[in-house]
Symmetry: C2
Subunit: 552 residues, 2 copies
C-alpha cells in the first residue's frame, strides 16, 4: 500500500539529479523494509519449527510460507520479463560488470543440481503422501518452476539498470532476494536437522529425544524412497549454493536500479599465457595432489581404522597448499608496493560490491576456523590430528586475509594492456612525468629506461585513465611476469580448494573434537552456514584472480 502511494510519482527522465537521487533512496527504503519484514517473519517460522520443543510449529507452515513466496516471486519475474520484452525503452542502460560469466555459469550449474533435487524431493514426498501433508509435494514442484524461471531471468536480465517503473522493480527484486535468502535459511536448517538426526540414529548417539521425532511414524509407499532421500540430501549443498548465487546477483540488480552508466564497454584484454610457466606448473601440481587427496579421502574416510591416517593426509595437504598460497599472496602484495601503476579512480558500484562480496563470503571460512581454533586450544588437545587442524585453521585465516589484500589491490590497479584512449599524447620530460601522479611512467614497466616517454595529459572530463604500453613489446617486465605467475598459481589453488568442499569432503565432522566441545547441533549449524559461503568465496576469488591475471 505504501509502495503505491510512492509510485504515483515515477521519476521522470527530465528532472535534475536531486529528485532522481531522492526517488532512488525512497525506492531503496521501501523495498528494503519489505525484504526485512519477509525475512523476519520467515526467521520466526523457521526458528519456531526447528528449535521449539513443543512442536506448535511444524515444517508445514514454513512450506506454505515458502510456496507463497515462490509463487509471488515467479509471477513478478514473468511480469518483468514480459514487460521489458514488450517495451524497447524499458531498459536503457546495462552494467557490463554485473552478472559476470562465472556467476551466471555457476547459477546454471547449481540450478540444474537444484532441479534434480526437486525431482527427488517430489518423488520422496509422493511416497509419503498418505501420511504427510500435500504441501510437501507442492513445494518442490513450485520450487522447480521457480528455479527454471529465475535462472532464465538472471541469465538474461542480470545486467539491467532499470529506470522505468523502478518502484515495482525495486520491491520485486527485494522480494526475490528475500525469497532466496528464505530458501537458503530453510535449506541450512533442514540440512542441519537432518545431520543431527543421522548422528542421533548412530548406535552411540546421545540425541535420543530426536530419534522418535517426526520421521518414524510415516512409512513410504514405494521402494525408491530411500534412494530419493539420499539423493536429495546429497544435493542440498548445491541448492544452498544456488540460493547464495541468486541472492548475490539479485542484490547487484537491485543496487543498479536507476543507475545511469556512461561507460558501457569493458576493457578488452586479451588472454595470453605466453611466458607464464612456473606459477601454472606449481599450481597444476597442487591441483593434481589435491585431487588425489580428495579421492583417497572420500574412499577411506568412512572406515574407523583409516580415518586418522586420512585426516593427517588431508590436513598436511591443506597446510602445504595454504602456506604456498599465503607466501604467493604476500609476495604479490610486496610487488604492488613497487608497482607505480595508477589506481582506477572512477567510482564503480559493481566493483565495490564485488569487493564487499569477496570480504563477506570470507567470513564463512573465518567463522569455522575461529571456532575450530578455540575448541582445540580450550581442549588442550595434543593429538597429531588436532595439532594439524589447529595449524590448518590458523593458515586459512592468514591466507584469506593476504589473498583478499592481494586481489583487492590488483582489481583496483589500472590494466597494463588497456587500449590507448583517444586523448592527445604529449611529450614531456622525465621529471614532470614522475611528479605528476596521473601520468603513468613507462620506466616502471620496462627494465631499461626508454629515452622518450609517452605520457598522457590529464583530461578534465574523463577520470578513467589507462596506461599506454608498448603493445608490441615482446618481453614483460619482471614485475608483470611475477604478478601473472602469482595470480595464475593462486587461481589454480583456489580451484582445488573449491572442489574439495564443493563435492562433499567434510573433515569438520570427521574430526570429532569441535562437535564434542560445542555440541553436535551447534557445530552442524556453524559448518552449514559457514561452508557454503566458503565455497562461494573460492569461486568468486577464482574469477577475481582471473581478472587480476588479465590486467597484470
Amino acid at each position: 500500500m505504501q509502495t503505491l502511494s510512492y509510485s504515483s510519482q515515477p521519476p521522470s527522465p527530465n528532472t535534475p539529479s536531486t529528485p532522481h537521487q531522492q526517488s532512488r533512496n525512497s525506492i531503496r527504503l521501501l523495498s528494503g523494509i519489505l525484504a526485512v519484514n519477509i525475512l523476519l517473519l520467515g526467521s520466526a517460522l523457521v526458528c519456531g519449527a526447528a528449535f521449539s520443543k513443543v512442536k506448535v510449529l511444524s515444517d508445514e507452515e514454513i512450506h506454505i510460507y515458502l510456496t507463497i513466496l515462490l509463487i509471488l516471486t515467479t509471477a513478478w519475474m514473468i511480469f518483468y520479463m514480459v514487460h521489458t520484452a514488450s517495451r524497447t525503452q524499458a531498459v536503457l542502460y546495462k552494467d557490463s560488470h554485473a552478472g559476470p560469466i562465472w556467476l551466471r555459469g555457476g547459477l546454471v550449474l547449481f540450478g540444474m543440481a537444484s532441479l534434480i533435487m526437486d525431482v527427488f524431493k517430489t518423488g520422496y514426498s509422493t511416497g509419503k503422501l498418505n501420511c504427510e501433508s500435500p504441501v510437501k509435494v507442492t513445494f518442490p514442484l513450485v520450487q522447480l518452476v521457480f528455479v527454471v524461471v529465475q535462472t532464465y531471468f538472471l541469465w538474461v536480465h542480470s545486467k539491467d539498470c532499470v529506470q522505468k517503473q523502478s518502484n515495482i522493480t525495486g520491491c520485486g527484486l527485494m522480494l526475490t532476494l528475500a525469497t532466496n535468502l528464505m530458501l537458503w535459511m530453510s535449506a541450512v536448517t533442514d540440512e542441519s536437522l537432518h545431520q543431527t538426526r543421522e548422528e542421533a540414529s548412530k548406535p552411540n548417539g546421545s540425541f535420543d529425544h530426536l530419534r522418535d521425532g517426526s520421521i518414524s511414524g510415516c512409512e513410504c509407499t514405494h521402494g525408491a524412497c530411500e534412494i530419493f532421500e539420499k539423493g536429495f540430501y546429497y544435493l542440498y549443498p548445491f541448492n544452498i549454493e544456488y540460493s547464495l548465487f541468486a541472492s548475490a546477483m539479485t542484490y547487484v540488480m537491485w543496487k543498479n536500479i536507476g543507475r545511469e552508466i556512461d561507460d558501457c564497454s569493458p576493457h578488452k584484454i586479451s588472454f595470453r599465457t605466453k611466458g607464464v610457466v612456473f606459477g601454472v606448473i606449481v599450481g597444476l601440481l597442487v591441483v593434481i595432489a589435491g585431487l588425489g587427496v580428495f579421492v583417497v579421502y572420500e574412499v577411506e574416510v568412512t572406515g574407523d581404522a583409516s580415518k586418522e591416517r586420512v585426516l593427517i593426509m588431508y590436513y598436511t595437504f591443506c597446510i602445504v597448499g595454504l602456506s604456498l598460497m599465503s607466501l604467493a599472496s604476500l609476495a604479490g602484495s610486496v610487488i604492488y608496493r613497487f608497482d607505480k601503476r595508477t589506481v582506477v579512480s572512477t567510482k564503480n558500484p559493481t566493483r565495490s560490491l564485488d569487493v564487499a562480496l569477496l570480504l563477506g563470503a570470507a567470513l564463512g571460512q573465518f567463522l569455522i576456523s575461529y571456532f575450530s581454533i578455540v575448541a582445540i586450544v580450550a581442549e588442550k588437545a595434543t593429538r597429531t590430528v588436532s595439532m594439524l587442524n589447529l595449524t590448518c585453521s590458523c593458515l586459512i585465516i592468514l591466507q584469506l586475509c593476504l589473498q583478499n589484500l592481494f586481489i583487492i589491490e590488483g582489481l583496483h590497479k589500472q590494466p597494463y594492456h588497456a587500449e590507448p584512449p583517444v586523448v592527445s599524447v604529449v611529450f614531456i620530460n622525465e621529471g614532470t612525468s614522475r611528479s605528476n601522479p596521473y601520468s603513468p611512467s613507462l620506466k616502471n614497466d620496462n627494465d631499461e629506461p626508454s629515452p622518450v616517454e609517452n605520457s598522457l595529459e590529464r583530461s578534465s572530463h574523463s577520470h578513467d585513465f589507462s596506461s599506454t604500453t608498448h603493445s608490441s613489446s615482446s618481453r614483460m617486465s619482471w614485475k608483470r611476469r611475477a604478478l601473472k605467475e602469482i595470480s595464475g598459481f593462486l587461481l589454480l589453488c583456489n580451484v582445488i580448494f573449491w572442489i574439495i568442499p564443493a563435492f562433499g569432503a567434510r573433515p569438520q565432522f570427521e574430526n570429532g573434537l569441535e562437535e564434542w566441545v560445542y555440541g553436535f547441533s551447534m557445530w552442524v549449524a556453524i559448518v552449514n552456514i559457514g561452508l557454503p559461503f566458503g565455497i562461494f568465496y573460492r569461486m568468486h576469488s577464482v574469477a577475481s584472480l582471473f581478472e587480476v591475471y588479465l590486467t597484470s
Copy 2:
C-alpha cells in the same frame, strides 16, 4: 604486521584526491579485517562457554580476552588523546552532525549506570575470591577505567575527522568498536543465562540441568553479596545500552576518518513552541497515562492473581498509543506529499548513517514482534491477553514502518526557518518560480498568495539551499503547523515508549506464551538482543523527531 606495511606510506595532504581515496579505502579494509577477526574469535569464546555442554570453556577465558581488549583499547584512547592534545594540526576538520548531544548525554547517563554496575560486580566478586578466579575481580575494575576513559574520549572527540596517522586511528577505532560489541555480546549472553538460571530455580522450572551449574559450589564471604548481585543484574540493561551507544559513536568516527568537511556550521534554528498546542497536549496525556500504567505494572505484575489484569491494562495502553502514533505518522507522510519544500541534496554521510542507525535499530523491535506474532498464531491462542498481544505486536511493526518513513522524509526536507543565505535575491514572476524546481515558492508557505514572491536564484557552487520565509510572519501555514503538532506528539509518545522498557518492564516474559513455544532460553536471547535495540531506537527517534520539529 599488515598495518605496519601499509602505514609506511601515510597519506600526504598534497596528493590529489585519488590516492587520498585509495588510502581511505585501504585503511577501512585493514581496520575492518582487524575488527572482524576480534569479533569472530570472541564469538567463538562466548558461544563455547555459553552453549557447550562439556564445559571445556568457562567464563574465565572470556574475561581474560575481554580484559586484554579493554586494556588495549584504553591504552589506544589515551594515546590518541595525548597525541591530539600535543599537536594543534592533528584534527583539522570537525563533523558538526556527529555525536549529537542526545547521544553524548545518553552515553554519560548509561556510563554512570555502568560504573555503579562495575562497583557492584567488584564487590560481589571479592566476596567469592576464595573459590573463584581473580580474573573476575580484575575484569570489572578494568572495565570501570575503560568506561571512564571511553566516555571522556567520545564526549570530547566524537566530532573529529582524523586526517593524520589515519592508519593507526582507523585500527584503534575498529578495536574500540570491536571491544564494545564484544562487551555487548558478553553482557547479552550473561544476562540471558542468568535469567534462564533464575527461571530454573523456580519451583516449577524445567531446567534442572542448569540448577547445579557453576554457581552452587561457591559461597560468598560477606553479607552484601546478594544485594550486589541483584544490583548488577538490574543494571545490566543500562550497560548493554552503553555499549550500543559507544559502538554507534565509534562507528561514526571511523566513517569520518579522512573526511574533509566544507560546511562546519549547522543551521541555527530557533526552538519555538508557540502555536503548537494540540499535539503537545495529547502527547502529554499519553505520557501521563503511560507513567500510570508503568507504575501499576511494576507494582502488581509480580502477583499471580493480578498479572492477567495488569497485562490487559498494559496492552490496551500500547494499542491506543501505537494507533494514535501510526495515524499521526501517516498523516504526516500525507502532508509531505503536498509539501513543496526542496530536498537537501548535499551528500551527507552522517545523515545517511543516522538513517541507517534508525532503520537498523528498528530491527530489534521487529524481531520481537514477529516472533510474538508467529507464536500466538501458531498456538491459536484465544485468551484476551494473547489477542491483545497479537494486536499490539502488529501495531508495533506498522507504527515503526510509518514513523521511519515520516522521520526520514522529514530529515531530508529543507528547513523552513533557515537563515537566508547570502545570494542575490531576484524578483521573478510567479510562473517562472513554479516551473523552476529549485526555487521554493512561498505560495505554499502562506495561506494567501503574496503579490511579489521572493525567490532565490540557483547558485552554481552551493548545493545547499534554504527557503526564505517571512521570519516575522506571525502565522504559520496549516501544513507547517500540522507537521509541528505531529512531530511534537510523536516525540512525547516515543519518550514514554522509551521509559517503559528502559526502566524494567518486561511483559514479554510475563505473558508466558512465547517462552512456551520457543523454549525459555531462546526467547530470553531474542528479547535480550531485540529490546536494547528497541530502546536505542526510541531515543534515536526522539532526537530525530526533535530535529523534524525544528525544521518544520
